[in-house]
């Protein structure tokens, strides 16, 4: 049986873990204190590089490398922006960290700030997460009172402030450049790259944007060592990860698991998720949030790691595994997905602004009437032309799932709906 490996969630069930005293009693901030007093900023980065940590927001970029892009010997202030705009459908893990062990995220944030020389960090929490905002703000206040945040932290030369910055309801602000634009007080438009945020981010100063879970991992890595982290999971998918199991499962929830090539995605769904609630056969799985291709029931026997799921044609993305059984019509599922992304398109780029709604309308027609001859080819071509033609990845977040549904469930889109 697959077992959870609880590192990040080790103390999450203790309601007192949100308090600084409990967090410290459980070893919290020891790693940060040690880093401040015994390690150079570069040592911290090296430890993270050694761990093999990849960003947990969905794109999976190596965290240590991202930090190394921050220019050194530059007079500009540097910033950390923690991406807590958790909005990818199916994803509900960062909230667990913030509501159950917020200091773990703050400690990682401080470590990242120390590593790159940042003096201010903002936690951009989606505005709907009022509970998270309250808990994280309380945690910051406690840590500030204990001189863990603020000026000359623990008597050292290192100073760093951390502030919560609430969003206001826009999925696109989870895209790192849109997050920065939004944080500056604007409509959350993604920015053209280059320049990349590590070089020109907030107020055109170097800025590292990392996901909440990534920050929690940084804490674990500095607490237990990069080697320890690299020894968990498997190559390319080291450490533990929080997976959000949702949809038609018996035991939906947030689970901390190691990736492995020794068991399969199906095993996780069966053993951790408990299979379908109704007992009906699985029809499909979105293994990494709804912005990646769907996997059919017969495609679930791939290894449970980034590489294997990629080879199977999808992605572990943000760790959101959404399962649907055969009681639901896939036309409804893909329409629902397209409604999400067309609603969330910021409207900047022509192909996304116009195309996402066109796609939604075609899928609505498919759902109610079924496609006419040539419609499927048109939809494939239209989505092709949204792929890679926009500033950010929101357009492909509609293209990939939609194309995958059309390809993988051809029978569902084969004919007109008869009354």
């Amino acid at each position: 049986m697959i077992q959870e490996t609880r590192a990040m969630l080790e103390f999450a069930d203790d309601p007192k873990q949100i308090e600084l005293a409990t967090y410290r009693k459980n070893g919290g901030y020891d790693a940060f204190e040690k880093a401040l007093k015994e390690m150079s900023p570069d040592d911290v980065t090296q430890e993270v590089l050694k761990s093999g940590l990849r960003g947990r927001g969905g794109a999976g970029f190596p965290t240590g490398r991202k930090w190394q892009f921050v220019p050194k010997g530059n007079d500009k202030p540097k910033y950390i922006a923690v991406n807590a705009d958790e909005s990818e459908p199916g994803t509900c893990k960062d909230r667990v960290i913030m509501e159950q062990d917020p200091h773990q995220m703050l400690e990682g944030t401080l470590l990242a700030a120390y590593a790159v020389g940042a003096t201010t960090a903002y936690i951009y929490i989606r505005g709907e997460f009022q509970k998270s905002i309250r808990i994280v703000e309380d945690a910051i206040d406690e840590a500030r009172a204990a001189n863990l945040i603020g000026k000359n932290i623990l008597g050292t030369d290192f100073s760093c402030d951390i502030w919560v910055h609430p969003g206001a309801g826009a999925y696109i602000c989870g895209e790192e450049t849109a997050l920065l634009t939004s944080l500056e007080g604007n409509r959350g438009y993604p920015r053209i790259k280059p320049p990349f945020p590590a070089v020109e981010g907030l107020w055109r100063c170097p800025t590292v944007v990392n996901n909440v879970e990534t920050m929690a991992c940084v804490t674990q890595i500095l607490r237990r060592g990069g080697d320890w982290f690299a020894g968990l999971g498997c190559e390319g998918s080291t450490g533990t990860r929080l997976f959000c199991l949702s949809g038609h499962l018996k035991r939906p929830g947030v689970y901390e698991l190691e990736c492995s090539t020794d068991f399969t995605l199906r095993d996780v769904i069966e053993q951790i998720g408990g299979g379908t609630l109704s007992g009906a056969p699985i029809q499909g799985v979105m293994p990494g949030g709804s912005s990646f291709p769907v996997l059919r029931a017969d495609e679930l026997d791939c290894g449970f790691d980034i590489e294997s799921v990629a080879k199977a044609g999808s992605s572990l993305g943000s760790g959101a595994i959404m399962v649907f059984d055969d009681t639901v019509n896939v036309r409804d599922v893909v329409l629902n997905i397209s409604e999400f992304y067309s609603h969330e398109s910021c409207g900047q780029c022509t192909p996304c602004r116009e195309g996402s709604d066109w796609v939604r309308r075609m899928l609505k027609k498919f759902q109610t009437d079924g496609p006419d001859e040539g419609d499927i080819a048109t939809l494939m071509d239209v989505t092709d032309k949204m792929d890679g033609t926009t500033i950010c990845a929101l357009a492909v977040a509609i293209v990939w799932p939609v194309q995958s549904f059309l390809k993988k469930y051809p029978e569902a889109f084969a004919e007109k709906v008869t009354a």
């Binding site: 780029c349 195309g355 032309k385 949204m386």
Partner: protein, 511 residues
């Protein structure tokens, strides 16, 4: 890196050596390749939202937007290959699915980049079978700009112009995604004195000019490069005329004067050209008189007044050639009191100049003095007066102190001899703008075929006064004669002044 801060790259197989730091669109332009673009404008920040300038950069996986891709040495760019063409065709289709395609009633037709690129890069068919999105049409953004939200492609050029150039931050986008729509702050009326530039900037028919709307299809019009004569800035413009009436002015790029812009005041400063009340025939003694009759009368009036003195008042709206012709008349008559009238007003730091006439510097160059604030009570035998078109007039009591009057004017003016004026779009000539810059005006229309320009009229009068004098046959020759005589113009030619003007060749205290 090639030498002197230049890089060499290949664009569609053509080698191009261009300055480092420019983008692919500009580099392509330098070798005669047009990369289509809507949101990009050389003077506005790069936002990269329209996506129509997608290009393939060899070695880079995804297509890149030409506006945000800076040239590198050795870069190989494809702007038209199959992959690029397919994606660009896609962008055009996306732009058009919710566009009303109301070209038949759209004022932009004929100069619309959506039309142009749809022809050049579109597929010619639509696969969109749903109802087009409905948005508000014919929204008044004040008395100058009309907005049509359905035609808008959200390129945000107008937003950026008012933010970054005019500095009034008046337009924003409301909502998001496909519901996005431009809104104007406050009561929804624009306030910038430069707001009409957004009409030129708008690549489609979303922003149209209240003044020009529905007056003419542009393909029936004649376009003449000239300058704005509403103030001393001398913004370079294109005058649009049809059937010998002036219909609009739009700015013409000149990096030394006005860049791509002009003030609304200058743009709208042309109504007098088409005024129905303009006189088209001289009068003598209040009665219509052909030019030879009127000029003989003028000769008699002026020669008869020599002993009592003649007051000559020029207009700062005249061309240099006209001013030198007037100078010749004054010289022949021995006139000592030579002045010009210059209307003054408010200026700003961008383009609006406080001198509300184009050619005070030319007046000074031709030896006319700034009119005094307080005229003396001296009496004159005659007044030779070229009346400015508006804003300023010679005080009535000064006119009254002159016994006889020869007046050039656009509309009827009580006088012994009244000669019609022509406006700057009816003749060739030069003026000296702010910064001592010589610029050409060019004839784009004739108001009435029988009208003679002031230069011709004044030269003929000069010949009557001095039979040995022979005027130049054209404005170009008149300019050359003037340039030969006057040190400040020495070495300049009509061609060297050209479309973009030229500095006076040595500093003259003309300002």
């Amino acid at each position: 890196m090639s030498d002197n801060g230049h890089v060499t790259l290949t664009i569609d197989g053509k080698e191009a050596t261009v300055p480092a730091g420019i983008n692919v669109i500009e580099a392509a332009k330098q070798v005669g390749i047009e990369v289509p673009h809507y949101c990009y404008h050389p003077r506005l920040s790069v936002v990269g939202n329209c996506r129509v300038c997608l290009c393939e950069i060899e070695g880079v996986g995804q297509l890149q937007i030409g506006c945000n891709t800076l040239v590198r040495d050795g870069m190989v760019v494809n702007t038209t290959n199959e992959r690029v063409s397919r994606m660009r065709e896609g962008v055009m289709e996306f732009l058009l699915i919710n566009h009303p395609l109301d070209c038949t009633i759209c004022d932009q037709a004929g100069e619309c980049k959506l039309q142009d690129y749809a022809v050049d890069h579109g597929s010619g068919i639509t696969r969109f079978e749903f109802d087009k999105g409905k948005k508000p049409k014919n929204i008044s953004w004040g008395d100058r700009v009309v907005f049509d939200a359905e035609r808008c492609i959200l390129c945000t050029r107008c937003v950026r112009f008012l933010d970054e150039i005019a500095g009034t931050d008046e337009i924003s986008i409301d909502h998001r995604g496909e519901k996005s729509q431009l809104v104007v702050r406050g009561d929804g009326k624009l306030t910038s004195p430069y707001q009409m530039n957004i009409i030129d900037l708008c690549p489609v028919g979303a922003l149209t000019s209240r003044d020009f709307r529905f007056k003419s299809r542009v393909w029936f019009m004649k376009f003449t490069p000239t300058i704005d004569t509403s103030d001393a800035r001398g913004c370079n413009v294109v005058a649009g005329t049809r059937d010998n009436r002036m219909l609009r002015m739009v700015p013409r790029y000149n990096p030394n004067v006005n860049d791509y812009w002009m003030s609304d005041h200058g743009r709208l400063h042309y109504a007098f050209v088409n005024d129905e009340d303009r006189i088209v025939m001289p009068t003598a003694g209040g009665k219509p008189a052909p030019y030879p009759v009127a000029l003989s009368r003028a000769q008699a009036v002026l020669e008869g007044a020599r002993d009592e003195g003649i007051l000559c008042v020029a207009s700062s709206y005249m061309t240099n050639e006209e001013l030198f012709a007037l100078k010749g008349v004054c010289d022949a008559l021995g006139v000592e009191d030579r002045y010009f009238l210059l209307p003054m007003g408010e200026g700003d730091d961008l383009l609006i100049h406080p001198e509300k006439a184009p050619n005070a510097r030319g007046c000074r160059l031709a030896g006319f003095r700034d009119a005094p604030d307080d005229w003396s009570s001296q009496e004159f035998g005659a007044l030779l007066y070229v009346k400015p078109r508006e804003l300023i007039e010679l005080p009535a009591e000064v006119i009254e102190r002159c016994k006889k009057k020869v007046v050039f004017s656009l509309t009827k003016h009580a006088s012994d001899v009244n000669i019609p004026l022509t406006t700057w779009v009816e003749k060739d000539g030069t003026m000296v703008s702010a910064g001592d810059r010589v610029q050409c005006v060019r004839q784009g229309m004739v108001y009435e075929p029988t009208l003679l320009t002031e230069r011709v009229v004044l030269d003929r009068l000069h010949t009557l006064l001095d039979p040995a004098f022979k005027g130049a046959s054209t404005a170009v020759l008149a300019f050359q004669r003037m340039a030969d005589e006057h040190p400040a113009l020495d070495g300049l030619t009509w061609l060297s002044v050209g479309l973009l003007g030229a500095k006076l060749n040595k500093a003259e205290a003309l300002a």
